[in-house]
């Protein structure tokens, strides 16, 4: 085997290993593990911005919140309460682990609902 073929083989092996571990890392990062955090609750403060949504910001916030928390696990929850300036806070019990918090944030900030875009202002876990 000459030098060029050996270099090609080594490059192919390195690329294959990198792709394999990259896929493994991405799979671990995007996998839903479920479970609960160590705290009693997680409070989420989020805002909504609508464009051409005909049912008002309160309905948009509630629909967005319910659509997103339906994809994760929890035992108790408080519906979003308006804080002014189209900002709402809601609570889930018990607290959420870090990957589930990331999933909830992604759902709220993704383009989940037509004409409505959410933005998470804060997400914190603490005692009841």
């Amino acid at each position: 085997m000459n030098g060029a073929a050996l270099r090609t083989l080594v490059a192919f092996a390195v690329a294959a290993v990198a792709v394999y571990f990259g896929v493994q890392v991405l799979q671990e990062a995007t996998e839903y593990h479920g479970g609960a955090g160590s705290q009693a609750r997680t409070t989420v403060v989020f805002s909504v911005k609508d464009r051409g949504f005909k049912h008002g910001p309160d309905f948009a916030a509630e629909a967005l919140w319910r659509g997103c928390v339906a994809t994760i696990g929890w035992d108790g929850e408080d519906d979003p309460v308006a804080q002014g300036d189209q900002t709402y806070h809601a609570t889930l019990r018990p607290s959420l682990p870090s990957d589930t918090r990331r999933r909830l944030r992604g759902c709220l900030e993704d383009l989940t609902m037509n004409h409505v875009r959410g933005r998470v202002v804060s997400m914190s876990s603490g005692p009841a």
Partner: protein
């Protein structure tokens, strides 16, 4: 300059779309990940198409750049036809070979057939000779002369009519 700008912008867009695709997947933002993935694929196809089109244009330009050279090559091709195939040269009448290859083939085939005929003749002689003699003898017995020879008239019923006083 334009040759660098378009692929450069495409490459930057490709890298950015791919990076954002991974980031959006990590953030669980599936809709944005789908959009980034679509942009990534579109830019990838555009870059491949651009590179292929550029290569084709380069080849076309290389062919058309020098018509004199093309005409010269065409004339050379017309003047120098492809060489005649030499696979069956020995079958040609003007072949340089004085002894066609058929002669040894026919000689060998004749030798083989002669040997085979000799074997068949030997086999027939060894197997058919003894069995044929009694049959032939029985057949030939009917064709043989009568007892006493063809001049013996003692058995002829017309003998008295020919010679009434012939003593025997």
């Amino acid at each position: 300059m334009r040759r660098i700008i378009v692929p450069g912008i495409g490459a930057v867009t490709l890298v950015g779309a791919g990076a954002y695709f991974v980031v959006y997947l990590y953030r669980w933002e599936w809709n944005r990940a789908l959009i980034s993935g679509g942009i990534f694929i579109a830019v990838e196809v555009m870059l491949v198409g651009t590179l292929l089109l550029r290569r084709i244009n380069r080849l076309a330009a290389r062919v058309e750049v020098d018509p004199d050279r093309r005409r010269r090559i065409e004339r050379r091709l017309r003047d120098a036809p492809p060489p005649r195939s030499a696979v069956f040269d020995w079958m040609r009448a003007d072949s340089s070979s004085s002894a066609p290859v058929f002669i040894p083939i026919l000689m060998g085939a004749g030798l083989l057939l002669s040997g085979l005929a000799w074997v068949v003749e030997r086999l027939a002689r060894a197997t058919a000779g003894g069995a044929a003699d009694p049959g032939v003898a029985a057949t030939m017995a009917r064709l043989g002369p009568p007892p006493g020879g063809l001049l013996d008239t003692s058995q002829d019923p017309l003998r008295l009519l020919r010679q009434p006083t012939s003593p025997r």
